[in-house]
């Protein structure tokens, strides 16, 4: 497999994950979408030194991984390119913010260190939440949920097409790079001189295909609305899912659960 095929495979794999069956998969996409958005907002709203609070938020991805049967390893593997970016954003914090927060034996823990770790965890948690959404709800159902939230159909269509276009683009990259390497067997990458024509060709080819794909959708009556095909989702259970998690997030956000648990231990010692 070349790298484009690998990327394509991962994308299609997400589609397949979303089609699995588990308690979480059976909730409506709307409730999962809302829970995810509220989760991300909550995680992001913690102060940059509130390591304990952010850490407690891992409860949600932990439980959803358990319930949905999605693999945490796979999730981490998928994030292998994004995590370094998150790390890069916060990497300078320890050098800038040097106020010592507390002393752990010989190491003085500074504000910068704490905020760096907190930021990393925030990033990973949000990525996990996004992965869990895409792995438990097919993209069409997510689009349908966006429509029900009254997101204009233009945006939803653009989002859906961008998603489909990505796989078309990757397919073309895969085919073209195979064609290239069959005729340049000793080269590792694609020679720098041919980048321009390769990319230009890629753009044209994938645009043609995307256009035809959109035509195929139009020919079958696509008008910006989504009519779900999945099994009828149980609305009341989905609603409970949404309410329960919203409540849990609010508690975790405004009640210092981490330090309460900490105190509990200290008192017992």
């Amino acid at each position: 497999m070349n790298r484009a095929q690998q990327a394509l495979y991962e994308m299609k794999q997400t589609d397949e994950l979303a089609m699995m069956d588990s308690p979480v998969h059976r909730f409506s996409a709307l409730s999962k979408l809302m829970v995810t958005v509220i989760y991300i907002v909550t995680v992001m709203s913690f102060s940059k030194y509130d390591f304990g609070g952010v850490f407690m938020m891992a409860l949600y991805p932990y439980l959803v991984f358990q319930l949905s049967g999605l693999s945490f390893k796979l999730c981490m593997y998928r994030m292998r390119y994004v995590i370094p970016l998150v790390a890069f954003v916060g990497i300078f914090n320890p050098f800038i913010d040097r106020t010592v927060m507390f002393q752990a034996r010989f190491l003085s823990v500074t504000g910068g260190m704490i905020s760096f770790v907190t930021l990393m965890i925030k990033g990973i948690l949000c990525l996990c939440a996004a992965f869990l959404l895409s792995g438990t709800a097919p993209v069409d159902e997510i689009c349908g949920a966006l429509r029900r939230l009254h997101v204009p159909s233009v945006f939803v269509t653009v989002f859906l097409l961008a998603y489909r276009y990505m796989s078309v683009l990757m397919e073309e990259v895969a085919v073209m790079s195979d064609a290239y390497h069959l005729r340049a067997p000793r080269q590792k990458g694609i020679a720098f001189e041919t980048w321009g024509s390769f990319l230009g060709q890629l753009l044209l080819r994938s645009m043609d295909r995307a256009q035809e794909l959109y035509a195929a959708m139009q020919l079958r009556g696509y008008d910006g609305e989504f009519r779900q095909t999945g099994n009828t989702k149980d609305r009341s259970v989905s609603f409970v899912w949404f309410v329960v998690w919203t409540a849990v997030f609010l508690i975790l956000r405004f009640v210092p659960v981490a330090s309460l648990i900490g105190n509990l231990f200290v008192r017992q010692l």
Partner: protein
């Protein structure tokens, strides 16, 4: 009835790909659209569907194909694309088949019933729950044809329906086309298939209609076919 009148189309100005094409298709008629590579067959179909804007007019059951009437006319015309990869865009074959039906307001039970019916008539029930990226090119072609048949259009336009099919499935498609009651317009380089399915043939070359007439006449005319970059159907050339 489908009427095509004085259709002219160019991808790039000054270089028309279709020149003044006119013909009429009666209800239930089977038409083979033949011509060498690049003759303009796929382009003609796309203009008829309103996917490309040409000059001239296309009238489907009394309704002219224009931007305003697309929803109506497209419901009447089913199109099997030359490239099935572009036709199938949902994760599973089932979703793809359901997509059009749900869009045109069928409910879930009816949709499911219709899909089962079409799949079993084509003997491809096993494809129902398969992922589109995990089926072979020929299976995808069969599935693409199934998605279009499920919508029960009043006319079908098929761009190379038998390319990529093995002999068994090719025969199956010929059988299916012959059992259909709808109007069919079929392009193909498989002239034997055209011979088995169509009563009338339109031969185009460089975007012009060269000849329009009974299939038996045109497909037997070795001189005519060779002059326009084609060969006699195999079944006839052996004689």
């Amino acid at each position: 009835m489908i009427e095509v009148k004085n259709l002219t189309f160019a991808y790039e100005k000054e270089k028309p790909v279709l020149h003044d094409i006119s013909f009429t298709v009666k209800d239930g008629e089977r038409i083979g659209l033949i011509g060498a590579n690049g003759a303009g067959k796929s382009t003609l179909m796309k203009v008829m569907l309103g996917l490309l804007d040409g000059e001239g007019s296309v009238i489907v059951e009394g309704i002219p194909v224009t931007q305003k009437t697309l929803a109506e006319t497209r419901k009447k015309l089913g199109f099997v694309l030359q490239n099935s990869d572009n036709q199938m865009f949902m994760p599973k074959v089932y979703d793809d088949m359901a997509f059009g039906l749900l869009n045109y307001g069928m409910n879930k039970e009816e949709t499911e019933k219709k899909i089962d019916e079409v799949l079993s008539s084509m003997h491809i029930e096993y494809l129902k729950d398969r992922y589109n990226h995990r089926i072979s090119g020929g299976e995808k072609r069969m599935a693409a044809i199934a998605t279009v048949l499920a919508m029960e259009p009043s006319a079908l336009l098929m761009d190379e329906p038998t390319s990529a099919l093995d002999p068994k499935n090719r025969r199956m498609i010929i059988q299916i086309i012959n059992d259909l009651k709808q109007t069919c317009i079929i392009t193909s380089h498989d002239l034997d298939m055209i011979m088995d399915t169509c009563s009338r043939v339109i031969l185009i070359d460089e975007g012009r209609i060269i000849k329009d007439g009974p299939a038996v006449e045109i497909l037997r005319d070795r001189k005519l076919l060779e002059a326009h970059g084609m060969e006699l159907p195999l079944s006839l050339s052996r004689l």
